[in-house]
């Protein structure tokens, strides 16, 4: 099971990094989403992998660590909100500039007044 989870996290991270380095906003946002999936899984695993265990300390061993589950919930909510924000900004940028390239031209860079 450890191997499977490790491969899953590695694949998600690799996909995320590759997509984040693309030139258009939509693949970049998808890449960021993949990265956040990878990190959520990684956070979850940081409490060790257990099967059929209650998340309460004091019950007979083994128990599942409840804290990473709470951390993951927080991280999911935050990354969800952030993805919504960057999505709206990407649409706004596309509508106002007419294209969705993520890099700035030398001419328009620093020209906001």
């Amino acid at each position: 099971m450890e191997l499977l989870v490790a491969i899953a996290i590695g694949t998600l991270t690799a996909v995320g990094i590759y997509m984040t380095l693309r030139l258009r906003t939509f693949p970049v946002i998808l890449g960021l989403t993949f990265l956040s999936y990878a990190v959520n899984l990684f956070l979850f695993v940081s409490g060790r992998l257990t099967l059929n265990a209650a998340p309460i300390i004091g019950t007979p061993e083994p128990y599942a660590d409840p804290l990473p589950q709470a951390l993951v919930l927080t991280a999911i909510v935050i990354s969800f909100g952030m993805t919504a924000v960057i999505m709206i900004m990407a649409i706004g940028g596309y509508l106002s500039a007419g294209h969705d390239r993520i890099d700035l031209d030398a001419a328009e860079d620093g020209d906001a007044k």
Binding site: S36, N40, S46, M82, G92, I102
Partner: protein
């Protein structure tokens, strides 16, 4: 137990929510609420400073859960100092935003500013590493809104880059936290400080990876080379007043690095040793040079201010990287100075760019209204940021040079050469904007009546002058602060670890 420790977080959060619900679209009421909150924050910050000086470190247990099971906020001299700096800068920025009507150019400027204050104040106060991440996200999401305040294609597209860069940073932060938790089973900073030295040998590799990832995240926030690429585009495209407020955001990277390097990964920890120092110091020296060359080559005033900000972060990180009490005291003085100086430069740049016919420095434009007064303000801000006497930048750089006596050949030459480059760049920009203009007919427009905007810029410069005049007592207090950072026993004791078992 003092409940005032939570005020810098709770007060702006409440006011922001009330503004969005109750004062929607009522700009003058929002302005009053915003100013009143920030004045109250200033009062709280002074009280916290007083309490931290008299009573030392104090922890606030949220929900009265004992550490390390609950989240703690820890007030010590460093966090009180940073909150006070934040409150002062917020006052200056808000006055300027009102005076220049920046806050009228889009909806929700004041609520977003309140959320930004909540996030930054929380990041300075928290004693829990995961909570630090949460406050980072709070301040970032507010900063996304503020950065694109006023709209426009260039600003929005620069904003997307900024958000994307920071989302990658957030993922990196979470990876680092998960590694730390996986190795130690805790995320309370004081608990981490206690548990890390007793870690088994086999976990040191993971711990070193986590330490480097954390420092990478803080380097993104602090715009340390090679992670500075987001800053010039973001700050140059932000509204000037927002960029001035952002001057304290880069300092969060410096603060977090200082906290991590003194509390969690001190040099005495065998697993990491001088790892942080070895990584940060070369990066800081390059940052300083990149910033100085950027100042020399900048094509607009806001961009120049952004590169000056990068150079000042290089200087601050250079002083932090040694992690000795003397260098830390110098770093803290320089952080105080550079926050105010960078903010002043951004405000002056905004005064110019809003009224100049061309944004680009190389295109000659008619003299702007009140160009005499604005050029004097620019001169003062330039003197401050370049580190020339008589303002506090000179004292700050002198303290840092003095603290690095043993590495004089390298550090002194980089600091002095970069200061020289900055003086050249600032002088070039000033003569292009203010002197070349006098050859043309002055702008026929009426002089702009923005007394509050000028007063805010002047206030930032006055604070710099005060920092210079009171340099003696302030450095004395900062030396005590640096000594308490070097010996974190009081900070750890304030968390009352083990009380809940």
């Amino acid at each position: 137990m003092s409940h005032w420790i939570i005020a810098p977080v709770a007060l702006p959060a409440l006011v922001a929510a009330l503004m969005v619900i109750g004062l929607r679209g009522q700009l003058s009421l929002q302005r009053i609420a915003s100013l009143a909150t920030i004045l109250a924050l200033n009062a709280v910050a002074v009280a916290l400073l007083w309490s931290a000086t008299l009573h030392g470190s104090e922890a606030y247990f949220l929900g009265d859960w004992p550490a390390p099971f609950g989240i703690v906020l820890v007030l010590d001299r460093l966090s009180a100092l940073m909150v006070a700096l934040l409150a002062l800068l917020a006052l200056i920025s808000t006055l300027y935003a009102i005076g220049s009507s920046w806050d009228a150019k889009g909806a929700h400027f004041h609520p977003l500013l309140m959320f930004l204050l909540m996030g930054i104040g929380g990041a300075f106060l928290t004693g829990d590493a995961f909570n630090l991440f949460v406050f980072f996200e709070v301040l970032l999401i507010a900063s996304y809104g503020l950065m694109i305040h006023g709209g426009g294609a260039a600003r929005t597209r620069a904003g997307i880059q900024y958000v994307a860069f920071n989302l990658v940073g957030s993922s990196l932060f979470l990876f680092a936290l998960a590694l730390l938790y996986g190795v130690t089973g805790t995320l309370n900073m004081a608990d981490l400080a206690q548990k890390l030295p007793t870690l088994p040998e086999g976990d040191t590799a993971l711990l070193r990876v986590a330490a480097v990832m954390l420092i990478l995240v803080f380097a993104i926030k602090g715009a340390l080379v090679p992670l500075q690429f987001w800053l010039p585009g973001t700050y140059a495209n932000s509204p000037g007043v927002v960029a001035a407020m952002f001057a304290v955001m880069t300092k969060i990277g410096a603060y977090a690095t200082l906290r991590a390097g003194t509390l969690i990964f001190p040099e005495s920890l065998p697993a990491t040793g001088p790892l942080l120092q070895d990584l940060i110091q070369p990066a800081a020296l390059v940052t300083l040079l990149v910033g100085a060359v950027g100042v020399l080559g900048a094509n607009t005033l806001p961009r120049l201010a952004a590169f000056a900000g990068i150079a000042s972060m290089g200087t601050a990180f250079l002083a932090i990287s040694a992690f000795t009490p003397q260098t830390t005291a110098a770093a803290l003085y320089y952080i105080l100075h550079s926050t105010l100086a960078t903010a002043a430069l951004f405000l002056v740049a905004d005064l110019v760019t809003r009224h100049r016919a061309h944004l680009r420095l190389t295109e000659t434009a008619p003299a702007i209204a009140q160009s005499g007064l604005i050029s004097a303000l620019y001169m003062a801000a330039a003197v401050a940021i370049a580190g020339m006497p008589p303002l506090s930048g000179f004292i700050g750089k002198l303290l840092i040079l003095d603290a690095f006596r043993d590495q004089a050949p390298l550090v002194w030459s980089v600091v002095l050469v970069s200061s020289f480059l900055m003086i050249l760049g600032l002088a070039r920009a000033g003569s292009l904007v203010f002197w070349k203009a006098s050859a043309l007919d002055p702008d026929p427009d009426e002089p702009v009546r923005e007394p509050l905007a000028f007063a805010a810029t002047f206030a930032a410069l006055t604070l710099l002058a005060a920092l210079t005049v009171l340099a003696g007592p302030i450095t004395g207090w900062l030396t005590d602060t640096a000594n308490s950072l070097a010996d974190p026993a009081a900070y750890i004791a304030a968390n009352k670890l083990g009380a809940g078992q």
